[in-house]
Amino acid sequence: MKWYLLRRGWQSLLVLFGVSVVVFLILHLTGDPALLLLPPDASADDIARFREAMGFNDPVAVQYVRFLKGALRGDFGESLRHGEPAMHLVLERLPATFELAGAGLLIALCLAIPAGIISAVRRNTSVDYVSTVLALLGQAMPTFWLGIMLILVFSVRLNWLPSSGRGDLDHLVLPAVTLGLFTTARITRLTRSGMLEVLGQDYIRTARAKGVSEPPVVWKHALKNASIPIVTIVGIELGTLLGGSVITETIFAWPGVGRLSVQAIFNRDYPVVQAAVFLLASTFVIVNFVVDVLYTYLDPRIRFR
């Protein structure tokens, strides 16, 4: 087991390294970062001097090493718009994004897992059909449209909930539901299929033959085994949630990293963009590594590989 974890840890480090390369390259996509960072009316002299001062004339490899050293210290340069260190701006808004993603995930798990289990246990009944249809719709619906429709119904027409900003629980409801719907749909379908697969296994038949009553069969034996793919999916879904936060935060004016990134890209504030993308991608890699560690506790078969 230790070897497995070490291997996964090393792979995660390699991935983080790859992430840093890609983030670095974003600025150099057009070949001349100076043109990107300076206002359009800058003179040729200004551009040349800027290039020299920022070290853009050095070979790419040297520039990358400089970038990496800065990144490891948390230094991504200064925001071009706000004048503050880029990473500080991003970190300031990280709690807001985690709050939103966390709420979305919580809603998803609370709704999806019971729904999936009931669907599997009461297969082909009306409950199953309704839940399947809802899950299909949930996966097909674009999040930004859902957000706008929710605002239309609950903010504009009914005036029950606020449509923007972050504050108390009221403000969290609509964005969290919007963000979490796709994940809910996905986890519902996965739980249902996972449970169906597990319920068909021999050890379940054995438990029933032994006389174990239905609730422990479902909740203890079946769920524990079906939860393995669910745990994996949660790790992947976190990536979806972090990405989805970009759109959801924009629609609901939620002050998180996603909204900051979109604004930064439109403002051509590339240090902030780099800091934000690097942070989100790294979070994803770390969370997945944690999920892998959890995996070894949930699935004893892995320990003996």
């Binding site: 792979q11 390699l14 991935v15 790859g18 992430v19 890609v22 974003i26 600025l27 996509l29 057009t30 990107l36 299909l136 719709l137 996966q139 097909a140 619906m141 674009p142 999040t143 930004f144 449209w145 706008i148 429709m149 605002i151 239309l152 504009v156 990536g239 972090l242 990405g243 989805g244 970009v246 759109i247 924009t250 629609i251 996603g258 990134s261 979109v262 890209i265 439109f266 051509r268 590339y270 963009v273 934000a276 993308v277 989100l280 991608a281 790294s282 994803f284 890699v285």
Partner: protein, 309 residues
């Protein structure tokens, strides 16, 4: 060859001499009939067909010119009849343009981006998956690490960062989406290659001295096509949503070309006064994606239910 010719061997010879093509066609017909028997897949197929036909025949079915502005008719509700007696079935937008017409033309962008991006990522993923699965070893490790790096980025963030740098245009969004979506194809193809690699006819070919290229093309590739097709179908739905998300943010195809996402962005501004601007384009996306998903699910269940896609 046994000198005694029994009825059985005569029958065998007769079958062997029959041409191969009819049985291939019959196989496709069989698959098609199996697919049709699933009602949801049928519904999905119908929806996809309608959307495709709408996109192709847009100029002929569209009741209005999607770009024709008429400020005197702006923000009219669905069903409104203008002074010339023509009915705007889904209303007009803030510049007086007919919503239905714009939705019809918006399907063109959605499908073009969908097909083009899927083609690019499909081919890229196929090549990477074949290489990783067939040659294995360090190359496989490297390519799979690359896949992990690709997956670590929240896709939409990477897409808007790159397009923010390169500038929004039809070509750029196709390239960005296409180049970054290869992973799921590569994984599925690689999985299939790993299982096919161990089969006897492949090992026989290797033993007989066939070159790698020939083995890949003749034995491995045809087996990967089915899972690849399922992935491509489901991925197309995802690409259409991403294209509309990018258009929504203003990073897609630029106005005045109608895109579903762009219409949603416009509609958001007038949400309290003209709900139809934002509702119908979103419904168009929803129905299209649902249709493709149902069709893709049906395809997967028909061709290979074991696929973990």
């Amino acid at each position: 060859m046994a000198p005694v010719s029994t009825p059985q061997s005569v029958a065998t010879e007769a079958v062997v001499l029959a041409p191969a093509r009819p049985s291939q066609e019959r196989e496709w017909l069989l698959l098609l009939s199996r697919l049709v028997r699933r009602r949801t897949a049928l519904f999905g197929m119908a929806v996809v067909l309608v959307v495709a036909l709408t996109a192709i025949f847009a100029p002929m079915i569209s009741p209005f010119d999607p770009l024709a502005q008429d400020i005197s008719q702006r923000l009219r509700e669905p069903g409104w009849q203008d002074p010339q007696g023509r009915v705007h079935l889904l209303g007009t937008d803030h510049l007086g343009r007919d919503i239905l017409a714009r939705i019809i033309y918006g399907s063109r962008i959605a499908l073009v981006v969908g097909l083009a991006a899927v083609a690019i990522s499909g081919v890229l993923g196929m090549i990477i998956g074949l290489t990783a699965g067939y040659f294995g070893g360090r190359l496989d490790d490297f390519l799979m690490r690359l896949a992990d790096v690709q997956l670590a980025f929240p896709f939409i963030l990477l897409a808007i960062a790159v397009i923010g740098v390169l500038g929004p245009s039809l070509r750029n969004i196709i390239i960005v989406i296409g180049v970054s979506s290869w992973v799921v194809y590569a994984r599925v193809v690689r999985g299939e290659v790993l299982s096919v690699r161990e089969r006897e006819y492949v090992q026989a070919a290797v033993a007989l001295g066939s070159r790698d290229g020939r083995i890949l093309a003749r034995h491995v590739l045809p087996n990967t096509f089915t899972p690849w097709l399922v992935v491509a179908t489901l991925d197309m739905a995802r690409v259409i949503v991403i294209e509309s998300a990018l258009s929504f943010l203003g990073l897609g195809v630029q106005p005045p070309t109608p895109t579903w996402g762009g219409m949603l962005a416009d509609g958001r501004v007038y949400l309290s006064t003209a709900w139809w601007l934002a509702t119908f384009p979103g419904l168009a996306i929803l129905v299209t994606v649902l249709g493709i998903n149902l069709f893709g699910d049906g395809l997967r269940d028909t061709l290979d239910p074991r696929l973990k896609v």
